[in-house]
């Protein structure tokens, strides 16, 4: 008896993704939707999309979603969660959104231990605006505002926001994963599940940083972009559990 073992998850609408070929966003959308379904929280989840390529996330997720100004996802999610503490509230943000313009809001939400979950998509570049440098752009990496490659003296080094958030006492679970290979995609799904469970158990702030390919702005074919994450990006942003306070008092 043949049975279907893989299909589009329930909490994604019929809309066709606008993302570029090989982009990690839609993989991550799918994983979040699968986790929402498996944890049975579709009727109590509220998502906050960013400004960035995923600004149209509400066209895809079939859940309540409220747009935040660029960078403010953690503050908007805080407002929602404080009013509706029994709902599951997550913010979905790119690297510029969370680690440049939104740094203060993110660090302070973590510091206060806001019981929200953040999905942080790190593709080392500002995608929607055409490929400018991001806080996580690697040294030497070319972008439209670092045509000669990111230079330490002019631009500073890439920022590891997740490490910064780990210092905040209110953060409970922080992990960095990737969606560049099926093995890492499975790992990402487990991490997202864990992060949502942290919120469901009322433990505190959780964040999953997901390395994601941006073939268009990295100017490489998708298969090469996926390899580049493995061979280059992970050297600066290694995959690991950065903080796990679950089970500790």
């Amino acid at each position: 008896m043949e049975r279907k073992v893989f299909q589009k998850p329930k909490y994604l609408k019929k809309a066709i993704f606008h993302y570029c070929p090989g982009c990690g966003h839609s993989i991550i959308h799918r994983l979040v939707a699968e986790v929402i379904e498996e944890l049975d929280i579709g009727e109590k989840v509220i998502g906050v999309p960013p400004a960035g390529c995923a600004v149209l996330a509400y066209n895809y997720f079939d859940i309540d979603m409220g747009e935040a100004p660029h960078g403010r996802g953690a503050a908007v999610a805080t407002g929602i969660k404080r009013i509706l503490p029994d709902r599951i509230v997550f913010s979905y943000q790119g690297d510029g959104d969370i680690a440049a313009i939104g740094t203060a809001e993110t660090i302070h939400a973590a510091n206060r231990g806001e019981k929200i979950t953040i999905i942080f998509v790190n593709n080392g570049v500002y995608g929607m605006t055409g490929g400018q440098m991001a806080p996580t752009t690697l040294l030497g990496q070319k972008s439209t505002t670092t045509p000669g490659g990111r230079d330490w003296a002019r631009d500073g080094a890439p920022l590891d926001l997740s490490q910064m958030l780990a210092i905040a006492k209110g953060s409970v679970y922080i992990e960095r994963t990737s969606v560049n290979s099926p093995k890492n995609i499975r790992r990402t799904k487990k991490a997202i599940t864990k992060a949502f469970k942290v919120q469901m158990e009322g433990l505190g702030f959780s964040l999953i940083e997901i390395l994601s390919p941006c073939p268009t702005n990295w100017k490489m074919p998708p298969v090469d972009a996926a390899k580049w994450v493995e061979e280059t990006v992970m050297k600066i942003f290694p995959l690991k559990v950065i903080k796990d306070e679950v089970g500790k008092s």
Binding site: V45, I46, I63, E67, A75, I83, E105
Partner: protein, 359 residues
């Protein structure tokens, strides 16, 4: 509290907010309005469903209000001039997303860091949207402790009813002065009409989206006109002003807030020496009471706009009158508080100059 109490202006706003069903306050300390945040920190803690957040910035605070509003709560933030500048992005978003919110601006000297003394230098910021894009916010200008209470109640009602941010525009003096105030009874949140657009989890209903992005330019145009029509409708319903001794006046002073209190004192003085002067006090600054002004201008050909600024409401007066009357101006920016005596001298001198011109 069901009788008059003596209370500081900033506290009055807080107490009125709580009684109006405010259940989230987010703010950042800035003089001269810190008393409001401090009041709310206690008030929210005493409610089982109240939230107080001392946010990391005024910017974070307005965004927490945005989120709380999306979740259906009556939410409040407050600041003073430079902090209100930081909130403009959030206010623009909420106007576009048609979310309710109440924002209190206790104006101080500016621009820039300015000083902590009272001024009325943020009139343009408050009445012209203040942030980017084609929108306005309702602006209410209290001029007494009682009005602080009454207009705070109205602010929350208007915000919910018209799904738009409402600014309560006060100044440092309003925030600090103590007057007897009678508060209305606390409202029962359960009796408020439900909000059918709230994001509270799609249980038993389709999922909802609250957004302001409209890439399709026809849709954006349509949305802009929708907001514009909303503001016109608001103007027809809530425009409000107070007149004082205008029926036989040949010169009418136009002032709001603290300036209006000073002007009233000055007008009483000049009336004592036989000058026929009155006062028009706008209470809603947006929508501006054009009709009331035009009505007065049928018989009154001289107006004196008095503001604690270099002249901002002055422009709305001129726009409304469209050249029908003479508009004079007296302003003291920077935090100077004129005395009724000073203003009475200004009125006196202008009154006699007028009469000399009329021969």
């Amino acid at each position: 509290m069901d009788k008059k109490v003596l209370m500081r202006g900033s506290h009055v706003i807080g107490e009125a907010a709580v009684r109006s069903g405010c259940r989230l306050y987010a703010g950042y300390p800035i003089t001269p309005q810190n008393e409001l945040g401090e009041y709310m920190s206690e008030a929210m803690a005493s409610l089982k469903d109240g939230t107080f957040i001392q946010a990391e910035s005024e910017l974070a605070a307005i965004n927490m209000v945005l989120g709380a509003s999306m979740a259906g709560a009556r939410a409040l933030t407050s600041s003073s001039s430079p902090g209100i500048s930081l909130k403009q992005e959030g206010i623009s978003f909420m106007a576009a997303q048609e979310l309710p919110a109440v924002i209190v601006n206790t104006m101080r000297g500016g621009p820039g860091l300015g000083n902590i003394a009272p001024s009325q230098g943020d009139y343009f910021q408050a009445t012209r949207g203040g942030g980017h894009g084609d929108y306005r916010t309702i602006v209410l200008a209290p001029a007494s402790g009682q009005e602080l209470a009454d207009l705070t109640r109205k602010a929350f009602e208007y915000a919910d009813k018209y799904q738009t941010p409402v600014i309560i525009l006060g100044d440092g003096m309003m925030g600090q002065m103590m007057e007897p105030v009678e508060f209305p009874d606390p409202i029962d949140l359960n009796e408020l009409p439900p909000k059918p657009w709230v994001l509270d989890g799609a249980k038993g209903r389709p999922s909802r989206i609250i957004k302001s992005l409209l890439l399709d330019i026809s849709m954006e145009e349509e949305h802009n006109w929708k907001l514009s029509r909303k503001y016109e409708s608001i103007a027809r319903k809530i425009t409000s002003s107070e007149t004082f001794m205008v029926s036989d006046a040949s010169l009418v002073v136009i002032a709001y807030g603290t300036a209006a209190r000073i002007a009233k004192g000055a007008i009483k003085k000049v009336r004592d020496i036989g000058l026929n002067v009155g006062l028009l006090r706008p209470i809603t600054l947006f929508p501006f009471p054009k009709r009331a002004l035009l009505e007065i201008s049928r018989l009154v050909k001289n107006f004196l706009v008095f503001e604690m600024s270099t002249g901002q409401m002055l422009e709305d007066v001129k726009l409304a009158l469209e050249g029908r009357s003479n508009v004079h101006f007296y302003g003291r920016p920077g935090g100077i508080i004129s005395t009724p005596d000073e203003i009475s001298k200004v009125i006196n001198s202008l009154y006699h100059r007028q009469h000399l011109e009329e021969g």
